[in-house]
Amino acid sequence: MTDETQPRTDGGTATALPGDSHDDGSHLPPRWSIKRWLITTNHKDVGILYIVTAMFFLVFGGMLALLIRAQMWAPRAPGEGILSAMAYNQAVSLHGLIMVFWFLSPIATGFGNYIVPLQIGAEDLAFPRLNALSYWLYLASGLMVFASFFQGSTFAGGWTLYAPLNIPAFMPSIGATTTVFAIVTFCASVTVGGVNFITTIHRMRAPGLTMRSLPLFTWSWLLTVWMMLLAFAALLAACMILLSDRLLGTTYFAMTTDGGSVLWTHLFWFFGHPEVYIVFFPALGAMAEIFQTFSGNRIVGRKWFIVSMVLVALQSFIVWMHHMFLTSINLEVKTLFMATTIGISLPFDLMVFALIYTLIKGRIRWDTPMLYAFGALVLFIVGGITGVFLGAVVLDYEFRGTYWVVAHFHYVMVSGATALIGALFYWFPKITGKTYNEFLGKVSFAVFFTGFNLLYFPMFLAWGTPRRVFAYRPEYLVWHRIASVGAVILGISFLLIIYNLTKSLISGDDAAANPWPYSTTAEWAVSSPPPLENFPGTPSYASGALEFLGSDDDGSGAAAATDGGHATEHEEVHVDHASVWPFVTGVFSFVTVIGLSGLQVGSYPAGLEGLFYQATSVVGVVGLISAISAMGYENFTAHEGGFGETWPFGGVENTKMGMWVFLASDVVLFGAFIGASIFLRVAYGWTNWHPVPHNPIPGLVNTYLLLSSSFSVILALVAAKKHSRKGIVASLVITFVLGLGFLVNKGIEWLELFHEGVWLDSGVRASTYFLTTGLHMGHVIAGLLITAYLIWRAWNGAYSEGSGETLEYFGLYWHFVDIVWLFLFPLFYIV
């Protein structure tokens, strides 16, 4: 046990408590100003935005759930009840999508934003504007979902968006397209956020805060964002392909395409199973923190707990086919994935026992956060055990597509939500500086836990009910009635939670810096809420205890760096916390998507409606490009990492690391496109499939062009090191010309094929060729736009004074585009 007045951090003991500091700085308007929330890039503000927005989507998704339960009050025939058949399909689909994408992950992102930098001793994230951009893209994607309800109908094919139900032949509404666009935008938000958090946690830890001593919530969040980065790239690929089928008429998922529908399930579940852990890990991390604080005991087997989380994160990518036991995949692979699925339960067993034993060894205080965290563990155990049934092939044949699955995954996913509600109570005093009403908190838990089990447990008993339909056998009536009553009770508990927190925010007592005895992480060592720059000095664990060093002895070098804009002087630390461009980018993302959603199989609707969509597309695209350009050109200085612990990325600057991490996700994106082509070719018959272009020579010429352009980028870097302005400009101009040559050559090749009558919809061979090489062309075009910008900057003297970091970072991207072509060329032109 520790001294209750002396907060201990996971990495040492906090020996310095700062005085209250609520300096909002001169960069930002005050908190009551709406303008502040539109322009802020500070991680704590962005965290609050995420949490509040996620709660809003919780209410939205919850209302859809209540509609579902109202329809299930009695077995219905189509046309009976409060929802039409199609309205019910929409409610079921969007309830799942909203809860998974727009509530569960984002609320965890809110805690990640607010808490993780505090826990690791960073003053902000590595790329604050990208952090704000991530939020605004998230909000824009959520608003797209809203808008989709008003565009004919939203997506109505289930949250898994299975093919071929997802193609225009079966789901023709514009709203369905907007829903898919919303997911794509959400994926972009997640990727931007993932790059940011990975760079931050690896590069911006306080001195002495090694990976081994990272707080468990930060560990869980680090693994979450790694999983997000790779898994969401696969979903992004899947949804981009689906959009291509819907907007341009490619035939990946058409009924006539061999393997098309199975391809969707592979791509979706390659994302989908890691998504379970993406949702659950932050909850697990929060649970671990709460258990430690409220039992007064360090988690038992801490090292093995972390090892288990790492194992689960890795294993999560090799279990996806257990969601596909009822598809046409072969028995051998089913058996293999049954084994890997059983394998992933083992590290979870270890973590569950570690949590239980931590409580057994400690003295538990049953405050509201602990009640929710403990409740989450109980519910997760039920969810985990009932999931084992679904991992077994033979049992899965029986249970798949029934309410057993519905009950199981709600026990898993909503147990995660339960822990996150615990986290909300736990960190509420830190975030708001106010204490909540403890009695009302406990009452809300009692109502929540009762409602939860009344809602979901009867679904196990009524397991024979088929999923996604509102007709069921009369003997299940009582269980569905109980479930519907439970849904109302659960809904009331959320109202109690929201009332409690809102009332406390307005009129609660002020919270101390550390309201929880035995809390063990650094956020409790600063005031509630923390000051804008987080710490009264540079945090350091170098002595084994958390200390705040003054500017004279911090050894940080007062490092600051630009956040993608162009460089400013580094002599004096003057970091920025405001930029309007992430918000503007989010706005125009929304406008662009609304415009493009009107495109259907290559054409816009006729008349005024079509004109509206075309005009909106143009306005959106022009605005989007302008906003991104303005953000690129804006002066913005952010904190640089590298002053503390940086393993295993020591010596790699933040921007370079961010670029590499982004490229890793791009590997998965392109990998999924190439993998989809290979998969469809295998389904088609490998040797029956011939390249679409008749002649490999134009492809070879393009290979020469891209290789040469890569070489000229290298020469630009060499020229920068020689401080030769002319050399830089000349090399970049050559790169631009060669890239343009690549596009012209490709354009000629495409025009020739169009002239011959080969279009995107001319079968799956043509679809894969046009779309995959088209995605690559998109990357080339983006690269050329950046090259043009670099030429302009180089002409004005940039890059010739330093060592050419910007050119190097651009080169990483351009060489990657080259590498991708080195695989596309043989695949689509030779073999």
């Binding site: 199975v262 990518f317 690391m657 890793a664 695989f823 030779i830």
Partner: protein
């Protein structure tokens, strides 16, 4: 300066390997022994990619952890493609 020579040598090598890939198709090896030709063409692509990543992207001079980051993505691609393709055999 030595680096410039190295980069130039690599550039020439990449040019030659790309030409050899098409050469395999032009001499009719794909018709004679498809599997061998496919293996050779794939191997050449991998060699080119490794060279570009290693030298043009400077991975050989960077901390190894960056290579592992990229490998993580590549292994993900391989797992998805191989397992998915096998699943419908």
């Amino acid at each position: 300066m030595a680096r410039t020579k190295l980069y130039t040598g690599i550039y020439v090598a990449l040019f030659v390997i790309a030409t050899m890939q098409v050469g395999i198709e032009q001499i009719g090896l794909l018709e004679e022994s498809y599997v061998l030709a496919l293996a050779l063409i794939t191997a050449f692509s991998v060699i080119k990619a490794v060279i570009v990543a290693g030298y043009f992207q400077h991975l050989v001079w960077e901390p190894r952890s960056l290579t592992y980051v990229m490998m993580l993505g590549f292994v993900g691609f391989l797992a998805l493609t191989v397992a998915a393709s096998y699943s419908i055999q």
